[in-house]
């Protein structure tokens, strides 16, 4: 097995607030292989975005980050800021949910892509423009030469997201982190963006971390999936195994909560609800974070933190009572 592109060990993120610490991420470990699409799934506040932002230290000063994140053999979390700046946007780049907020409204699309190229690769203006045109072609924007001189407001939402992806790909990154890249888009546009990401992975061999709350998107494009709950990893598995043999009660709950189209009467079965709500991240209980909402919870779940263990090939789960079946 080749060396993973990214190897994260015991990543924890705490935010210092007036009311005490908020433990956004607690001892997350994961790897990302070359050319792999890793889906990180979870609901609002589970720490999926913070995990990825912490990797390149794009968090406010109140954040305290512990752990290690090895990228090409070097620890991103211990790297001097100057060097880290060369990694961000060049070797590891980001695509966010709302394309309009990632683009500067007062500069043309071409200018913004060229800026990345000039900053990281020191390309001349002429060369940068050529490359920008290539990039727009790569992300399949129609009439790319004309688009270079247009402003973000002249583009549709789907086109803007393609421009953001073009910028992210400008320096041929090893890792692309896409944080809810299709959430703000219509389904027919979403299908095109997912297709584009698949294409990028195949043609350029880019590894992709896809953060999403949409299980359908994960089913469509991810190779491996990480389910997060309250800042911790609940389950990790190859995509097919996660959907066919979910082990963690939270994963089973999530899968039961989404309506499934095309299943006739099955589509009308009552949706599964997960009782209660996500615990506060102010204190880290010495317990399973899901215990209060879980029908399988017992004394052990309430007094010990479940460690991850492998229950099926490449499939690990942090639960004292894993297994299929109703919850």
């Amino acid at each position: 097995m080749a060396q993973p592109v990214l190897d994260v060990t015991d990543l924890s993120v705490r935010f210092d607030t007036d009311d005490g610490d908020v433990h956004a991420v607690d001892r997350m470990s994961f790897t990302l292989d070359a050319g792999e699409v890793l889906g990180i799934v979870g609901e609002s506040g589970c720490g999926k975005s913070v995990t990825c932002m912490a990797l390149v230290r794009l968090l406010p000063e109140t954040a305290r980050i512990d752990g290690a994140a090895l990228f090409e053999g070097r620890d991103l979390l211990a790297m001097p800021p100057r060097e880290l700046r060369r990694v961000r946007g060049r070797s590891i780049s980001f695509v966010f949910q709302e394309p309009m907020t990632s683009l500067n409204p007062v500069f043309t699309v071409g200018h913004q892509i060229e800026e990345v190229l000039a900053r990281h690769l020191r390309l001349s203006r002429g060369k940068a423009r050529e490359r920008a045109l290539e990039l727009l072609e790569l992300v399949r924007i129609p009439a790319p030469a004309r688009r270079l001189d247009e402003y973000p407001h002249q583009l549709s939402g789907g086109m803007r997201q393609r421009v953001v992806i073009a910028m992210a790909l400008a320096c041929d990154p090893k890792v692309l982190v896409a944080d809810e890249p299709t959430t703000a888009l219509d389904v027919t546009i979403q299908a095109g963006i997912l297709d584009l990401m698949r294409d990028i992975r195949e043609r350029l061999g880019t590894s992709i971390i896809l953060i999403t709350h949409n299980l359908g998107v994960v089913a469509d494009i991810a190779d491996r999936v990480l389910v997060m709950y309250a800042g911790r990893k609940a389950e990790e598995a190859p995509v097919a195994d996660l959907f066919s043999h979910p082990q963690h009660p939270y994963t089973i709950g999530l899968l039961g909560a989404v309506p499934r189209p095309y299943e006739g009467d099955e589509a009308r079965r009552r949706l599964q609800e997960i009782p209660g709500r996500v615990p506060s991240l102010r204190e880290l209980p010495r317990a399973c974070a899901f215990a209060d909402r879980c029908s399988r919870a017992d004394e052990l779940s309430r007094t010990e933190i479940p460690e991850l263990r492998e229950v099926r090939p490449a499939h690990s789960v942090a639960c004292f009572h894993p297994g299929p079946g109703a919850v």
């Binding site: 609901e43 095109g192 297709d195 009308r268 997960i274």
Partner: protein
């Protein structure tokens, strides 16, 4: 169709907005809704589906008289309400209520939950004092909120609780029509499930009719009895739920169904999708003829008729209406891709 008259009838509804002259340099008309007709039957949930800019929310706003329709007729329980004055409209508002998408911005942060939920009762002078309290308590219980939450403020509640408050407020007067505009799209998956379950339970116990506006086809299949699909201000297909998911006719509906992701990797990866060329055209200058012709994968078959003539929304089979030149009774549309339903049943067989 049964003999009872529909609760809500929308006939040839048109809404054009004048576009900002200073910015565009000239006068422009946004064709938000053009010639939309449908009826909402007693006790049914009708899904109104479409992508951003299709005009689905404008239809809702016209029905609620939040915007003035350009032309057309809206009848509520047989009464023409299209141009009723605010005063004449007021007593009818009891029958017609709305749930909004964002439970954070649609509740007054300075009112308690009890006041928010009881406000329609007070405004219509239906009850006060103890009687009002009792009604508020009852409806909070119906939507699954504990009675003591009535003294809380919206910021103290979770997203799911707020949306329950929104539902309680719109249902406290027992309206005959509930209009829900993307009521779950701002919520987390597990919370969505509880609100969708609740809406289905309340509908079956209280019996109201619901116009459910959404872009999410999976939700439609879960909740709705019939589905109406909009594209660029017009209805392209209206069909009973099962028929739509099994036998969609309009090429746009087929494309929309094929693009929706299914949360099952085996099924999702076996499907093919119809890729639509280009973007949705501007409603300032909608295409001539069939508005979908600029992106239609079947354009070669339908041209030139589709570029010149507007297709009528006509009956394809009983209860199933389609607006496409290629579709006639007994002559279904060519299939663009294998039906997802077939893939699912093949997998489960």
């Amino acid at each position: 169709m049964s003999g009872t008259s529909p609760v809500l009838e929308v006939v040839d509804l048109v809404k054009h907005f004048e576009a900002g002259r200073r910015l565009t340099g000239g006068r422009g008309l946004v064709h938000a809704v053009d010639d939309v007709s449908f009826e909402l039957r007693r006790g049914e949930i009708l899904g109104l589906v479409g992508e951003s800019g299709s005009g689905k929310s404008t239809v809702a706003n016209c029905v609620l008289r939040l915007v003035e329709p350009t032309s057309g007729t809206i009848r509520l329980n047989g009464t023409d309400i299209t141009h009723l004055s605010r005063r004449k409209m007021r007593p009818l508002r009891r029958e017609l209520h709305m749930v909004f998408q964002d439970p954070y911005s649609s509740l007054n942060p300075r009112m308690t939950v009890g006041d928010i939920v009881g406000e329609p009762v007070r405004l219509h002078r239906i009850a006060k004092g103890r009687a009002l309290d009792a009604r508020v308590e009852q409806i909070l219980d119906d939507v699954g909120l504990r009675a003591e939450l009535r003294y809380r403020y919206p910021h103290e509640l979770s997203g799911g609780q707020r949306q329950r408050v929104g539902l309680a407020r719109s249902l406290i007067l027992g309206p005959s029509v509930l209009i829900a505009d993307e009521p779950v799209s701002a919520l987390d998956v597990s919370v969505q499930a509880s609100i969708l379950n609740l809406l289905r339970d309340l509908q079956s116990t209280m019996g109201f009719s619901c116009l459910f506006i959404t872009h999410d086809l999976a939700t439609v299949e879960y909740l709705c009895d019939r589905v109406a699909v909009m594209y660029l201000g017009q209805l392209v297909e209206v069909s009973p739920r099962a028929e739509l998911f099994r036998n969609a006719q309009h090429p746009y509906t087929q494309a929309l169904l094929s693009a929706a992701v299914v949360p099952d990797p085996a099924v999702q990866r076996a499907r093919r999708q119809v890729v639509l060329e280009g973007d949705i055209p501007s409603p300032l200058a909608p295409p001539s003829g069939c508005r979908f012709h600029t992106r239609c994968p079947l354009h070669d078959l339908s041209a030139p008729q589709s570029e010149e003539e507007v297709p009528e929304l006509a009956e394809f089979s009983p209860g199933h209406l389609v607006a496409c030149h290629l579709v006639k009774p007994g002559r279904p549309s060519p299939r663009l891709v294998e039906d997802a339903a077939d893939i699912v049943s093949a997998k489960t067989a």
